[in-house]
Symmetry: C2
Subunit: 132 residues, 2 copies
DNA sequence: TAGGAAGTTTACGTTAACGTAAAGGTTGCT
DNA sequence: AGCAACCTTTACGTTAACGTAAACTTCCTA
């Protein structure tokens, strides 16, 4: 049996509400080539794929990716018929991204440790203040 | 015996070379109140503390912190004699930062998994290209 | 049929984090 | 003395990622 799935059709304001971003941002992402919704007349109509892309864009932003970088990552997924040359440059790109992210993991862990220390200090100070 | 430590005195170009940033950036960070080097006449003289701060600024940037956010974190360390009220707002700030960073950890792990998948695909495609 | 809600394009404005250039002071050779 | 290598301040320019406003269309409904 074929699986019927969710509505798969969204207006721009549907998505702006769901992701808590402005319609301006969504149109801007389109301008930058990160999404390309269908049109019904003038009106944009977004499908599941567009929605997923928005989610990925936002995740990218949380990680400090520029929109251009996120766009590059999107391209990676659309690669089916590529030359070996391109494949190698793609793998280099992937390698660099992995390197950056691994560095970020270290950074985050370090900062989390520091924040926990700070938190402990604060709580202790609070306790001594209350005892008095 | 007292431990003699490293030079602890740096010129602006020393640090710009060491951290691979421009002197313009370093002066800008000063402008934003993130470092405050001593002066000998007009000339800036940086010490160990300044150097550490630069390192932290750069780590913050890797994590997508704005200079203002990093500045807030610096302030947290200078807190000794603070009121309970301030302590609570500080702890809230810490809490939010921890929340963000934890989210980032999840994001990074997700992206790393995807990148590994992509890498595998690329390598497999490369192998099939070579076999032919 | 008048108006409101949601959509559109076009275009100028804004903020952060510097880049870049101009104009000049200080030190150290040679 | 001259100039090269640093340092300084001042100030305008630049890019990314939108914000904001104007002017317009389309659809719904009271």
């Amino acid at each position: 049996m074929t699986s019927k799935i969710s509505p798969t059709k969204y207006s721009i304001s549907d998505l702006s509400k769901e992701f808590d971003i402005t319609t301006r941002s969504i149109r801007f992402y389109e301008d930058q080539g990160l999404v390309s919704p269908a049109r019904k007349g003038q009106t944009r109509i977004y499908n599941q794929r567009d929605k997923v892309r928005l989610k990925l864009i936002l995740r990218g932003k949380r990680l400090g990716f520029s929109l251009a970088e996120t766009g590059r990552l999107f391209e990676l997924y659309d690669v089916d018929k590529t030359s070996a040359k391109q494949l190698n440059s793609i793998m280099e790109l992937i390698h660099n991204k992995k390197r950056d992210l691994t560095q970020q993991l270290e950074d985050i862990n370090a900062v989390l440790i520091e924040l926990n220390d700070l938190e402990d200090n604060c709580q202790e100070t609070l306790r001594t203040l209350e005892t008095k």
